[in-house]
């Protein structure tokens, strides 16, 4: 076999390899990262433990829960986030990405409260496939006190991570 014949055989192999390499390297540019940013709220109650003489937090299951957003004009949003949901101990609420404040109306076991959150927004680029997301950092939280007795911010950074941000207490 002459050099050229051997050489052309090599070329055939290279073309096959190229074909494989091409199909191996194409991706479909689909986003595979988590993009959902929501405020995670847990419901808790407090009991006094007489043996240790300390207050102990425990998770509270709310019998019936309805949550609706309140827009900047004070009107209720058309779409309901939680509609008479039963036995809920934690919720995930979307914050307004183009505002520094979000308000929610909560009906917890037939008692009505308004929850207000003030926060700063951060723009974060993820990738070419996924684009950008907006994360938040809580500045202040306050609420009316019909069902809600107190609030605790446990993690002020609201990101795509499944970490509890806010605790609502009902004694």
């Amino acid at each position: 076999m002459s050099y050229l014949q051997k050489y052309s055989l090599c070329i055939c192999w290279m073309l096959i390899l190229w074909g494989i390499g091409n199909s191996c390297s194409t991706t479909d540019e689909v986003c595979r990262e988590e993009k959902d940013v929501k405020l995670k709220v847990g419901f808790y109650t407090q009991n006094f433990n007489s043996s240790t003489q300390k207050y102990v937090n425990s998770s509270l299951s709310v019998d019936s829960l309805t949550i609706v957003g309140i827009d900047s004009l004070g009107q209720l949003m058309d779409s309901v986030l939680y509609n008479n949901s039963k036995n809920i101990s934690s919720v995930k609420l979307p914050l307004n990405k183009f505002s520094k404040e979000s308000k929610f109306r909560l009906i917890l076991n037939d008692e009505l409260d308004t929850l207000t959150i003030h926060y700063t927004n951060h723009l974060q680029y993820l990738s070419f496939e996924c684009g950008s997301i907006i994360t938040h950092t809580i500045d202040t939280v306050y609420a009316t006190s019909h069902f809600i007795d107190s609030l605790t911010i446990v993690e002020p950074d609201i990101t795509t991570l499944d970490v509890e941000n806010l605790q609502i207490f009902h004694y």
Binding site: L17, F98, L123
Partner: protein
């Protein structure tokens, strides 16, 4: 899927090494004396222009090199090329990049002349390169939607610039088909050096390197002339 690719490439290289043994039987008697300065070769890759023309997203891409032949064993090389891309993601985001890239390195001729055959100028090359590209890129039409509260915003990051540096391990052949005219091909493993990403928006595709992964595989088919 990536594992299958790696197996294919490794098994091909093993095949190829066995095949190449046919080329070189190492008998060291009566080899002709080879000069240190053995000329310069100019090579041009024909694979990149063809592949980029067939690709829907890649802009016209071309690369050529200058290679110095020292004693037919050491072949320092300098390469320069252009590359670019215009790509749309599944979320309708646009990525555009264009730039020049350069590579410098050295190849080693792994082929030894057969005693009985007439001396030839064919080469089996293995080598290393350092590559770099200073380029500009745009990432545009990024939309952010306020799913529950309503509203939408569009972001554009334009005229971002980056400098990326990588190293390559190259393997290939060069065969003299006519007097001083060579055809060849090479396959390369490209690997990025670790860098601090100071820009907020990282580049998705790097001219001359490919997608912004830790490593990529490249292929060239070269036509060259030896002076």
């Amino acid at each position: 899927m990536l594992k299958i690719c790696k197996y294919f490439i490794i098994s091909f290289l093993i095949f190829f090494f066995g095949y190449i043994n046919v080329f070189s039987q190492n008998k060291k008697e009566n080899l002709p004396k080879i000069k240190w300065w053995n000329g310069i070769m100019l090579n041009f890759d024909v694979f990149s222009p063809i592949q980029s023309s067939l690709s829907s997203s890649q802009n016209f891409s071309a690369v050529g090199n200058v290679q110095i032949n020292l004693k037919d064993i050491f072949l320092p090389v300098y390469e320069i090329g252009i590359d670019g891309i215009n790509k749309t993601s599944s979320q309708e985001i646009y990525y555009k990049a264009n730039g020049i890239y350069q590579r410098a390195g050295i190849d080693f001729n792994l082929l030894r002349q057969k005693k009985e055959a007439e001396p030839n100028n064919n080469k089996l090359l293995g080598g290393i390169r350092v590559g770099w590209s200073n380029f500009k890129y745009d990432v545009t039409n990024i939309t952010i939607t306020n799913d529950y509260w309503g509203g939408e915003s569009t972001l554009n990051y334009e005229r971002q610039s980056a400098l990326k540096v990588w190293y390559e391990i190259v393997f290939g052949i060069q065969v003299e088909v006519f007097k001083n005219v060579y055809l060849g091909w090479n396959i390369r493993s490209k690997n990025l050096f670790k860098q601090n990403t100071s820009t907020e928006v990282s580049p998705w595709y790097i001219p001359g390197f490919g997608k912004n992964n830790t490593s990529n595989v490249g292929f060239n088919y070269t036509v060259g002339y030896h002076f």
